[in-house]
Amino acid sequence: MNKLYDKIFKYGLQIIVIIFCVFPFYYAVMTSLEGSAAVFVPNFFPTEINPKNYIYLLFEHNFPNTILNSLFVATVTVSISITISYFAAWSLSRVNFQGRSMFLFVILAISMFPQIAVLTGMYQLFLNFKEFYFNIFDLRVKGITSLLWLCFTYTMFNIPFTVWVLTTFMKGVPKEIEEAAIVDGASSFLILRKIFLPIMTPAIFTTAIMAMIAVWNEFLFALTFTATNSDRTITVGIALINGTVEYEVPWGSIMAASVIVTVPLVIITLLLQGRIMSGLTAGSIKG
């Protein structure tokens, strides 16, 4: 009897949590497949399956362009911040220097800093950057200014987080492995390349995915620093999708756009989740 209660309780809770988390996404998928009239009828199962929202977004709208912009910003940001924080993590976890814990603490404090607090200052800097950039480069490539600035600010906000996470991971790698390599005659750079990099690969993937999601979903800076339709990123792109008439909110298209940008993240995470975190140093030390 007790066992039955336990089971009901356990699975019941699980079902509630799953519904709570997955239902909005399910509803988004369903809405994205419905025509403009059907959207406003509350229902749990789709009454029609109609890909017209997707066709509109992908072929008649500049939405693919916003995806490319986001991909560009995310790739640049994530690669720069991961590279920098990989080296930073090594020094913060392995090299003894004065004020190391202070430094780590400051990094943590910075990563808690609200974006909005620096927004106005950032905008002023952005204007100066634009002027500087225009003076140097040909006007033909000026369209990329906003994106480059986005890369810069995102990297700035991402690095404290990625440094912190990678430092924690690197602290978990036994010191003896590094010492064994030192005794074997490896230089610090070689250790970083041949020993730490392969061991840290899962951790780096994990951190990169988290950073990528953060960049992918960022809205405030993207809205502030992009002015033309050609340099929108996806979040702003979705927000600015408009309907055929002024007062219509085109839910179907918005939901279709959300699904298009969410599905790749879900797929990446599912594919990599086996590698994330697992077996960082299996077999290296006792056990």
């Binding site: 036994p174 003896e176 492995i177 010492e179 064994a180 390599a181 030192i182 005794v183 074997d184 005659g185 490896a186 070689l190 020993i195 392969p198 061991i199 077996g279 140093t281 299996a282 077999g283 290296s284 030390i285 006792k286 056990g287």
Partner: protein, 359 residues
């Protein structure tokens, strides 16, 4: 070939003075074991020789060359870590070849050396496996193999067997002893296990809170400990210590009492002692004579009996003085019995109030 001279070396961790004016000479091709309780500085000593820790003062020289400022790779040493510290993403072969590749050896030479080491350690079948597919004993062999391939002048072992189970530890101990004969290299071995120290060492160095308590061959340390610390540390079960008083002194012997029950004349002297001084009498459990004739005696009830098959240990106590005595394996003595314990004078050690041994 590779003498190691350590000269008045000091090491601080912050304000903590962990190695205090240690001087040691380690002979080429000898097997030296650094032994001591946790925190005595033995691992730090080894890491200083390896070059993984800086030295605050003093010199360490290997083969006549001062190595204080040389990085580990230029010291011609190899180290085996307690936790094995294998590179988890490399195969066994690559683990063992890593150092050689860094030395830019030719492919043939690398192959030859790794296979040679694998043959010695009997891990030829596992060369293409990853460390996580190996058992603890196999991993430890790989760690040793990694050291062998580089043919260093000095091998440093940092408690290499402490993660293995008891049976495997005994087996690896024997193999290490064989390996030492085969390689004819200088080996320095750190352990807290006095059995490993006794069985492996040519020389044992007992460290106590950063100073060398005594250095000598295993039997020297067993028979003639310099002080109570060494007496208590070497040997298992521990040496018994009984508080006692000097009754009289002659030119070649000191007479002490045993719990006021009997007297015993030990042929050891200390110039600084005088009649009436408190001393500690040390005697090993295996030297006590249970229910037999001997020089001095002591009677007590038996509180615990441990039967190990080959021997039996009797735990006795009288007026707060505990005593462990060894007797034959098939002893009839039971808990609660009263036994008479004899103290052969030739086996007794005397220590003064500061713990120094009478000579």
């Amino acid at each position: 070939m590779a003498d190691i001279n350590i000269n008045t070396v000091n090491k601080y961790f912050g304000d903590v003075h962990v190695i205090k004016d240690v001087s040691l000479d380690i002979k080429s091709q000898s097997f030296t074991v650094l032994v001591g309780p946790s925190g005595c500085g033995k691992s730090t000593m080894l890491r200083m020789i390896a070059g993984l820790e800086d030295i605050n003062s003093g010199t360490i020289s290997i083969d006549g060359q001062v190595v204080n400022d040389l990085p580990p790779k230029q010291r011609n040493i190899a180290m085996v870590f307690q936790s094995y510290a294998l590179y988890p993403h490399m195969t066994v072969f690559d683990n063992m070849a890593f150092g050689l590749k860094l030395e830019k050896r030719s492919k043939d030479e690398i192959n030859e050396r790794v296979n040679e080491a694998a043959r010695i350690l009997q891990i030829e079948d596992y060369l293409q496996r990853k460390p996580k597919q190996l058992s603890g004993g196999q991993r430890q062999r790989v760690a040793i193999g990694r050291a062998i391939t580089r043919k260093p002048k000095v091998f440093l072992f940092d408690e290499p067997l402490s993660n293995l189970d008891a049976a495997l530890r005994v087996q690896m101990r024997v193999e290490l002893a064989k390996l030492h004969n085969e390689l004819e290299a200088t080996m320095i071995y750190v352990t807290h296990d006095q059995t490993e120290a006794m069985t492996l060492a040519d020389d044992i160095v007992v460290l106590d809170t950063g100073i060398v308590s005594q250095k000598g061959s295993p039997l020297e340390l067993y028979d003639r400990p310099n002080n109570m610390f060494v007496g208590g540390f070497i040997g298992s079960p521990k040496m018994n210590f009984i508080s006692s008083k000097i009754l009289s002194k002659s030119s070649d012997a000191t007479e002490v009492d045993i719990m006021g029950m009997s007297k015993i004349s030990v042929s050891k002297m200390s110039a600084s002692s005088s009649e009436g001084d408190s001393v500690t009498l040390g005697i090993r459990p295996e030297h006590l004579v249970v229910n037999g004739d001997s020089d001095g005696s002591w009677e007590s009830k038996v509180f615990v009996v441990e039967k190990l098959g080959d021997v039996t240990y009797l735990y006795l106590e009288k007026d707060g003085e505990p005593l462990v005595a060894e007797t034959e394996g098939h002893s009839e003595i039971k808990v609660g019995d009263t036994v008479k314990v004899g103290f052969p004078a030739g086996r007794c050690q005397l220590f003064d109030s500061s713990g120094q041994a009478f000579k």
